[in-house]
Symmetry: C2
Subunit: 96 residues, 2 copies
């Protein structure tokens, strides 16, 4: 079972994820992605879905037309874990 990051590890990890915002409840990180249209947004979601399934770690996310909001948190850890950090980096690599 994976643990929640310490304050210090969290700060170090988030310094490398400048486009992600800390969320308090549930404790995690979020990022909004905007695309030209729905097909752009859903195409991105499909790529993230495959990454997430491979990592066996899944986002909480929503989509409205060209916008995708992703929240990463680790329920088993009761907060932000290394799994969230790793998935955030993988998602950034897809998006940028």
């Amino acid at each position: 079972m994976i643990g929640k990051l310490s304050e210090e590890d969290r700060a170090v990890a988030l310094a490398d994820l400048p486009q992600w915002t800390s969320v308090a409840e549930p404790e995690g990180i979020s990022r909004r992605f905007t695309f030209t249209d729905f097909v752009g947004a859903f195409g991105f979601m499909t790529r993230v879905a495959i990454l997430a399934e491979k990592a066996d770690h899944h986002p909480e996310w929503s989509n409205v037309y060209n916008r995708v909001d992703i929240l990463l948190t680790t329920h088993d850890a009761g907060g932000l874990s290394q799994r969230d950090i790793d998935l955030a980096h993988a998602i950034d690599a897809l998006a940028d």
Copy 2:
């Protein structure tokens, strides 16, 4: 441009969509779908995405692991329109 359904048309339409719940803000209808796992949920989303794009009418939706929450509303109409009703029936046909 499509208009919002009258109270009467809305009541008639919703009688045929017993698994959908009225939502006040934004005015629309919602339904929760639950699957065995993430792949089941995202596979369903992919089928809905293609339907929605074909209809040029897109849901507001979210996914957490095996759960998909769909809200249908028509921003241009300021509420529930026939497009939402048609898309709800198409989604029910996929899901059931």
